[in-house]
Symmetry: C2
Subunit: 201 residues, 2 copies
């Protein structure tokens, strides 16, 4: 208590720079999603976090702005879902907390699974104008991850805020990464989720 407020830092795993360096502009949602799912798979196989990844792209050009992978257990911070890491790194690189700010191209978030309640809110504050997702909430819950207090009509809620959603892109490939994580005995790290009954599943 009463210590000097320390600086809090987090980063991507070491393998990420090589993975990012190998990718050029990715034109289609499917190409972008394949890159993101590949990062989620690497995160599982190298045991550097949970089975989720996300990335911010320039919407039109397909240029990668920032990759994020889940870092909850690796960094010891429950907020470090793949989406949060990708959005934060993108804002950091552009020196702009609003990715929809004046003078910037439109940006999108591509995520290997539909955003949980926290990431859904974060998307609204990030300035992205499109979300492309792979695995569904039900797929994540099947693994044991609680998606949190999220409105059922979350896609409409984003639409009301000018954010389009393209769901279930390469869903089965994204689910395969979740299955691999489960088979590997990966930790279900949302502490209050293990016994949480989800009636709408």
């Amino acid at each position: 208590m009463c210590k000097q407020p320390e600086r809090l830092c987090f980063s991507l795993p070491e393998w990420a720079s090589g993975y990012i360096a190998s990718c050029g502009a990715l034109k289609s949602p499917g190409e972008r999603m394949a890159m993101v799912i590949g990062a989620a798979r690497q995160n599982v196989r190298r045991e550097t976090g949970g089975p989720f990844a996300a990335a911010v792209f320039e919407l039109d050009s397909g240029k990668l702005v920032a990759l994020g992978v889940n870092r909850v257990t690796a960094e010891g911070l429950s907020m470090l879902h793949g989406e949060m890491v990708a959005l934060a790194l993108a804002q950091h690189r552009l020196h702009e907390y609003d990715l929809g700010g004046k003078g910037l191209p439109a940006h999108e978030l591509v995520t290997s699974a539909e955003p949980c309640a926290m990431c859904l809110g974060a998307v609204c504050w990030s300035g992205v104008t499109r979300v492309v997702s792979g695995a569904t909430d039900a797929d994540a819950r099947k693994l044991g991850f609680d998606e949190g207090p999220k409105p059922r009509d979350w896609i409409q809620e984003l639409g009301r805020r000018g954010i389009d959603v393209v769901p279930e892109v390469l869903r089965s490939e994204a689910v395969a990464v979740l299955d691999e994580y489960r088979q590997q005995g990966g930790m279900i790290y949302n502490p209050r989720s293990r016994s949480f009954p989800e009636p709408e599943n």
Copy 2:
């Protein structure tokens, strides 16, 4: 694009260490809230972020674990609401992503305003067992801040996850800080909120 993934860091404003050093154990929710509202007021007056603050305390002893203040504009990261900063710093100090983990005392989050959609989700993943809030969603929306896609029954949603909510503690004092921010011409920084109609207000 394709740069080395950089380390992303953020911190509290410089004045915070002195503010934290002056506080001892705070027994009642009101004492804890007064400390948090005081930090929000400092954040406004010193122009180091938005008019919101939060802190993590040990529930029983009232020992402060971590203070957070809104750092969105100061750090250029839209996720840095006061609650997110407080929860992340608390987890960082305890080297534990689950503040409700075995061997730890119970923890609570005291926040100068009810959590937005993002922070509501973050609360669920943090491991705190109680949330004490000051200003309401309606108070924040009155200032122009969108609270995001948040279920109307968010207090019940937290209750289902074992998290109690004590709302409207020192509400008028918390609202006074929002008013001071508005009078000062502070930025309403949620980019998509300015023209967003909120029907339930």
